[in-house]
Amino acid sequence: MLFFTIRRLISSVLVLLSSSIAVFLLASSTADPTAPFRQRQPLPPPAFFKAFKHRLGLDKPLYLRYWDWITGVLHGNFGKDIAGNAITPTLMERLGVTSRMVLGAMILALVMAIIVGVLTAVRQYKFSDYFFTVLCYMLIALPVFWLGALLKQFVAIEINNLVGHNVLFTLGEESAGISQFGTTSQIWVDRLEHLVLPTISLAALTFAGWSRFQRAAMLDVLGSDFIRLARAKGVPWRRVIFRHGVRNALIPLTTVVAIGVGGILGGAVLTERVFVWHGMGEYLLQNGLGAQDVNVILGWLIVAAFFIVTFNLIADLLYAVLDPRIRLH
């Protein structure tokens, strides 16, 4: 297992390294920071563009720019944006905001997917199975931002009216200024209330796919010989399901969850826009793509790649722990 872990760790680092090259090529070949200035009337003189590019280091050869950037990133420095501000502190602050939503949504989606997946498999072709099947088909077919807007406009207002005051907030990640005057517990309650709706809308779509997968995995396991043996031995049904069924049916889900991380990160950008969060997504859209700022886009992409590769690594290791046959490959 140790050897396996080391091998996986090394390969993940290599993947991340080559991913950084891909990210760099993608961002530097697409983003053009001079584009917003080219649309100005009258057009700035060529000397301006030259000086502008020189200031951002865009006149250097590509491999030098990559080297500068990657050595910076390895030291925890993501470079400067167009205005000359350091990106790292902003990016880390935004990352904190976004990871609340992303991790919350992942946990929620995972727990719900396991419960619903197992339930619908055990009660196959009963009412609850059909109910959740239809629900999942609907959720898979919805744009995440439409669902977010639906929750925001209609569910939040109903619930807030019911309770009598605002318990579900639809804008922002925390009430303005609360981090200045609130106590720690007040801040976290406030953040939690802001977190509920975005997390649900982000989790819903992922949950739908995962629960279908969990259902299929559980049906596979329930149809296998060792379950029949356990039943024949006279193990109680409940114990068969939880001890022998669910535990084995969870194994394939690890891979699916790891693959789903990229989708959740993409969905988080949309969800942040619906709920006007000041997180990574807004940073990417406004400061990155809006201003065509190469370093901001690079920062976002490499952080996303880091998350995806890390989750894949965790899934690989977890899989090897759960299913020892894997270690031999």
């Binding site: 744009p143 997968f213 950008v269 793509l289």
Partner: protein
């Protein structure tokens, strides 16, 4: 679809019904079996019928409907559902929602066609080359695919779309989505080819002197046709949703033209003041994507009846 799916397992069916029997046995080709299995699948047929009605309606409707999607009715801006002149109401400029929806479905259909066309051809080609030739070319291509898949697809597409201001049209969006849509198909085809190329019929073709190109196009690809069709339905559903997401982020359809995603995005902004602009396009998109998914599941079950119903 003129190519006949080559039977994989079956013994050759006896031609005609020469033997006199109490009952007649009709030999059915594999294709007939697949079609018949699909026709007997209730969910899939429901999906297909609803889908056909909506899409045909979107293409035929504008011929008979009194409003064009570009028409601006200044006398009735922002009227709701069921108003006398506008069945589904109008948006804030006075454009008729039903006319816009029909145009939107048309444009989304165009986008889907472009995406499935580009991504399908690229994916089949890359997957075939990697799976058939193996060795270094397989390694190279698949590592490349893995690499792109370490990034969130939607964001990569958004970054690319943001740098091409001229691609804010249905065709532009279709091409960009298609350029990144082939990755999973390439993996799928490669995996199928790896096992298919070891089979006896490929060996037989080799022995008879068939060229690599002939083996790939006449023997291997037709055998992978089922997966390609299932992939196409999945890709169509994803393309509709991806276009909506891209448009919502501001890098999709712009200008006078519209699309399903554009209408849904605009509807989100109008959710509290003009709810019909929010509900109707959103529900239409959901129904269309659901139908596509149902059809896709039906086709997969028809090709491979042993397969359990999964969609992840």
């Amino acid at each position: 679809m003129t190519t006949v799916v080559e039977p994989q397992h079956e013994a050759p069916a006896p031609a005609g019904t020469a033997v006199e029997r109490e009952f007649t046995v009709q030999a059915r080709s594999q294709r007939e079996q697949i079609i018949s299995r699909f026709l007997h699948n209730k969910q899939a047929m429901t999906g297909l019928i609803v889908f056909a009605i909506l899409v045909v309606g979107a293409f035929v409707g504008p011929l008979v409907y009194r409003w064009n999607y570009t028409d601006i009715d200044l006398s009735s801006k922002s009227v709701g559902i069921g108003s006398p002149h506008h069945i589904l109401g109008t948006q804030e400029l006075g454009r008729d929602l039903l006319a816009l929806l029909m145009r939107g479905v048309q444009r989304s259909a165009l986008i889907v066609a472009i995406v499935v066309g580009i991504a399908g051809c690229t994916g089949v080609l890359v997957g075939s080359i990697a799976g058939y030739y193996g060795r270094w070319i397989d390694n190279l291509l698949m590592r490349l695919v893995d690499l792109i898949l370490t990034l969130p697809g939607l964001i990569v597409i958004t970054v690319v779309a943001a740098s091409i201001p001229s691609a804010r049209s249905a065709i532009g969006v279709g091409i960009i989505l298609g350029a990144f849509g082939w990755l999973d198909l390439a993996r799928l085809i490669r995996a199928q080819f790896l096992s298919l190329r070891e089979r006896e019929f490929v060996e037989a073709a080799h022995a008879m002197g068939a060229s690599d190109r002939r083996i790939i196009f006449r023997h291997l690809i037709p055998n992978a046709l089922g997966s390609i069709i299932v992939w196409a339905t999945l890709a169509a559903a994803i393309a509709v949703l991806a276009e909506a997401a891209l448009t919502y982020l501001g890098y999709g359809i712009q200008g006078d033209d519209t699309s399903l995603g554009r209408l849904v995005s605009d509807g989100v902004a109008a959710a509290d003041s003009r709810p019909w602009l929010f509900y109707v396009p959103g529900l239409l998109l959901m129904i269309l994507v659901m139908c596509i998914n149902l059809i896709g599941d039906g086709i997969r079950d028809a090709f491979d009846p042993s397969h359990k119903r999964v969609r992840s």
